[in-house]
Subunit: 383 residues, 2 copies
């Protein structure tokens, strides 16, 4: 799928698609192939991509951006009025005028001030529903390789967690100690972040959820890790090319209870069922993959999202991963057909109050006639 | 200054101030005292603060948010329509109706889709210019302490840079080596990030700019560090309470040239001149502080921003630091009166093509009758 197909398809009745954003907005980065800390303008018009950037960014945009043409704001604005929002609107209007873009489509989150200012100047500005999300969900080879590299760094970080757990000693009462200090979730997060920094990844929150609290899948985790309890470790760093990785493993130091062991084995089996469904490749629906997972859990006696449960399997099977950690498509009820090039997490888990959580998560690429798993880190509960 | 004074002052002619955002939007975090990954709604009406959040966030918002009242989206929306933007607009309209907020002010960047949807439903929605920025520029004691803690972590990281430079050995040709490897800017950035991770800071880009490339103050820096060359190290981490720190030092391993030594001494003298201006405390203007810096540079024969120079002192003297790394006020031409509680960087520097850059930067708190420097890390060029 071409990066601009979704945009161009929505332009019937409009002269062009106008988008203003900066490097913190993933659609801007995706559409323009450019990142800059201050807002810049993207215009898709007559099958061409034009950027409007500040003088400071012009040279870099010329070299790096995915654009047919790059213009400087200074061509349309008096230097003295640069900090003035009305003057910026004048400049934007003049820029649009030069491309005969008098009726433009914009994304739903487009700035109300800018829209009102353009409308006052006689331009038509209307929102369209997410023209970029569908294109972003289908990754090209370069994007897949970027995700693959982040996921490799992620596996290194997971390895360092396992090493710390292996080195820990169990003191009386079951608390783990490492280097003479209680082994806390925070201590493990630091280990993960140091490993990721060495791989030049940007960090986001990490989940290290030991013990009973892990029964809440959203809990970030804190406190000392204890022998015999499951620890959910979910790491989702961003690589230096901007693409995320995402993986989860669950560990128990020492002997897990029968209950936790059964939860873990069922979860791994449920993930295998998702993979079986994905061998169909493009065309299988997110709902079918999620359903295969629910079937396994329900057969083993656990409640699932299909029962609106609050314990058991209580979240979706997976989500797209790319420039954002959560993006299209979804592996959940109502999830539509998958396309070749989708990169999705497959992350079944079980959550039981008074016991804790278990979850395993890999990233896979959907292919025409199957799938590729981007992980090869082992799934082994007991440390 | 009260957190809502700027908002309330702008509400003449409006029923309330409406803001929709999430934890990635600093104004949202500042106004609500709450962070959540998904959008939630802030309404200021009749001197009261009301939040509208999802069921998932309701309990936490009740405990943590700076709000007089917290409502759940589910009170206004049918569960089946939750993913539907039109249904969300219906719910928002019904919520506003309950507070008789039919004509609302919103920030300039407010979502065009939501504004159009409210207008179609008969509500008045108009943008107002930055009602939050002025309040955010004046920090209370809790905010200042948060910045102080981040800056302490920053000084630890700077210390680790100096240690690595001290340990480095000079090989023939002047290249530095550390642990048998060439000592690169990337290697030093990793050292900084590891130090910051151990202090539970979130990382942002770091500048480690060795040699001639440092003549561009925006360059992030790369390549091997060499003896005799200046290295600009500018670190701006975010503490776990959300507040940034920001500091810069410049180092030379071995013997600097006369030119670099003179650049450095003049820069430290220029910073002292800024501090002298700041002893006046609240009421001094950002332009006066910047002017004091320019005076020192110009007397020493360097060009400044007052000459529109491209070499010499070519950026502003400083900026506010808080929930964002760059916020109000500005220490630059046109910079207005400072207020007690402003936290600003003071960062003169000199940039010479063919030579490189030097810069020193501390953070200071403006007080009624003076200022407090949040740094006590020494300024010493030669390692």
């Amino acid at each position: 799928m071409d990066r601009y197909e979704g945009v161009d398809a929505l332009l019937d009745g409009y002269d062009g698609y106008l988008h203003v954003g900066n490097e913190d907005d993933e659609d801007t980065v995706y559409l323009s192939g450019f990142d800059a800390p201050d807002d810049f303008t993207f215009l898709r018009v007559d099958g061409r991509t034009v950027l409007l950037v500040s003088a400071l960014e012009y040279g870099r945009a010329e070299n790096e951006a995915r654009a047919d043409e790059v213009r400087r704001t200074g061509e349309f604005i008096d230097g003295d009025r640069r900090g003035d929002d009305e003057a910026r609107a004048d400049a934007l209007a003049e820029f649009l005028d030069e491309y005969d873009a008098h009726d433009v489509a914009v994304p739903r989150g487009f700035s109300l001030f800018t829209a009102d200012a353009l409308r006052e100047r006689g331009y038509g500005v209307e929102t369209v529903a997410d023209p970029v999300g569908e294109a972003r969900a289908v990754k090209d080879d370069g994007e897949i390789d970027a995700i693959r590299r982040t996921q490799e760094a992620n596996e290194e970080a997971m390895g360092s967690v396992r090493s710390v757990l292996e080195e820990a000693e169990v003191r009386d009462g079951g608390a783990l100690y490492h280097d003479g200090e209680p082994l806390t979730a925070d201590r493990i997060k630091t280990e993960i972040e140091v490993a990721l920094v060495h791989q030049r990844c940007k960090l986001s929150d990490t989940i290290v959820a030991p013990g009973e609290g892990g029964a809440d899948p959203h809990w970030r985790g804190e406190g000392t890790v204890r022998a015999g309890e499951p620890v959910v470790v979910d790491i989702f760093p961003r690589g230096d090319e901007g693409y995320f990785g995402d993986m989860t493993r669950t560990f128990v130091v020492g002997e897990p209870s029968e209950e936790v062991r059964a939860m873990y084995e069922t979860t791994v089996e449920a993930q295998e069922a998702a993979f079986d469904a994905l061998t169909e490749g493009a065309g299988v629906t997110g709902e079918e993959v999620h359903g295969a997972v629910c079937d396994v859990f329900e057969e083993a006696g656990y409640a699932t999202t299909r029962d609106d449960a609050t314990e058991g399997f209580i979240h979706s099977t997976g989500h797209g991963v790319g420039l954002e950690i959560h993006e299209s498509p979804r592996l959940s009820e109502g999830g539509g057909e998958l396309s070749a090039g989708n990169v999705v997490s497959v992350e079944p888990g079980l959550y039981v109050r008074g016991t804790g959580g278990v979850r395993v998560e890999d990233l896979v690429v959907v292919r025409e006639d199957g799938y590729e798993n981007l992980n090869d880190y082992p799934k082994s509960l007991v440390v």
